[in-house]
Symmetry: D2
Subunit: 165 residues, 4 copies
């Protein structure tokens, strides 16, 4: 059995903050250092590109699940670009394909992925979440996602999750 | 051209409150009275079933987009049950197939649909939303969804939206 | 229980022959006369449009599952246009949403739907199929689809299928 | 840019013949020897498993797009198992994610993938196809898929296709 562990990194595309990008980039580096695969929504933008570049620079394998039917617009740091042709329905695939997910920043698309992660029972870690994000996901009556201050704390949490599987 | 206007009603299945169910049932009645089609996630549970029954009792047409590959478990008040076989990826279809969406209550699945509605630019009305819901969707940097106190206020808002299209 | 019976009509879009169009149009009329819903891939082209127009002219309800994320390009004879946003992955939804399928003519997209119908165990009727089509689907080691000479023979076969469910 | 070339291998699961399995296994080996990624439908059965094992034994990377929402039942030779949760709608993803496809044997699911490949304009090579398969896909009025006698001829054809992109 050679199955690779896959960690999804989700977050805003166009409207990512500098902090979101820094967190995602370091997240990619740390995921790669563990020998895990970094999965994103694949675009050459925002958190998706930053996480893919971080992982790629650290020698990790990167996977992108694109909403489009070809690979145009994919991050150049994505090794395996999968054009799903599903539009935003691909967000559920990002969730299902991840052994655990890390969220750096928030946007409508990201919010849908975080909610689908709770729905599917996939572990979800929020890096430096806003108070609104913590309150909202905590109010949904499911086990609340874990909030951590930074990427290093997230990787410690991921190690715990992956080892206990 | 005989295209029918479609209004999606979204909300919790198993964990809907009595208030969610009452709002959804009245929402279905009022949508039917306008001559519009009521669309839900199709299950025989919670807000989906209540909205379908309300619409059906008022003589309206009801459409259900099920996550499963057959119609088992569909609400008996759904006239057209569409088994999508897509699992929760069908949530994006509920959004795209709706000219506007009304949200009665909250859950992880509902949260994903509300977020996808913002992402797709579909008008979204929140009926009696919690403070956490209002704060969170308002923080996403998109035009915030409209909050209304009850189904009658929602239908007034819907009339405005549909007429201006 | 008010569940409507749904019959899918599949066939070529741009490259439909005059015979395909005539068969699809009559098919729509006959499906509507039975009180069943006519389901197609929704486009304003070829067999999809012809079947929708036939059904619509006979007072039947028509449903279209579009590959796109909005309803632009839908046949004006489609009452309920569902933009799935799934591209050609929507072909599997056309199959699953149909209680039985009727195939008028052949194309790559149609071939995928006919194959998916066999895969899903949905009854499939081929109207005036080519010898290549009969040989190929008959060679797949599943119960072969039924071939009939025209729409009237197809409706007789459909009546038998629907009544035995 | 580190984008990997992906070759899809499609064919029957449960009902694959000994010849289909031998072709798929050698196909996997040859794809891996080129440095390409081998993509399949992911199951631990038939052509999917044989191609994954062949590629894995030759040190290649293997990717599986499963119809289910978890990785249970995946071939142990699949490195990256992507549970799509889409049922047979995932067949269109197998097509879109492949730079070119090789078909070893035939079944309803395989027939849908071959048809969707023609529809999407993805290069399709048929290894040792039956006369019915050649006649049918040749009759669809698109550029017909290329038929070859064995895996070695297929890899020569693939080299030509990939180099000309």
């Amino acid at each position: 059995m050679s199955r690779r562990t896959v960690v999804g990194v989700i977050g805003p595309g166009a409207n990512a903050t500098a902090q979101d990008l820094a967190n995602a980039h370091r997240m990619g580096r740390l995921i790669a250092a563990e020998g895990w695969v970094t999965l994103t929504g694949g675009w050459n933008a925002g958190v998706m590109d930053a996480a893919s570049r971080g992982a790629h620079e650290a020698g990790g394998l990167t996977l992108g699940l694109l909403p489009t039917r070809d690979t145009e617009g994919a991050s150049p740091a994505v090794d395996l670009a999968i054009p799903t042709g599903l539009g935003e329905a691909r967000n559920n695939l990002v969730v299902l394909a991840s052994d655990a997910l890390v969220c750096c920043g928030m946007s409508p698309g990201t919010a849908s992925e975080a909610a689908l992660a709770l729905r599917a029972g996939r572990p979800l870690i929020l890096v430096a979440p806003s108070p609104e994000t913590v309150s909202f996901y905590g109010s949904l009556g499911h086990p609340a996602p874990v909030g951590v201050p930074d990427a290093d704390a997230a990787i410690a949490e991921l190690r715990r999750i992956i080892q206990s599987r």
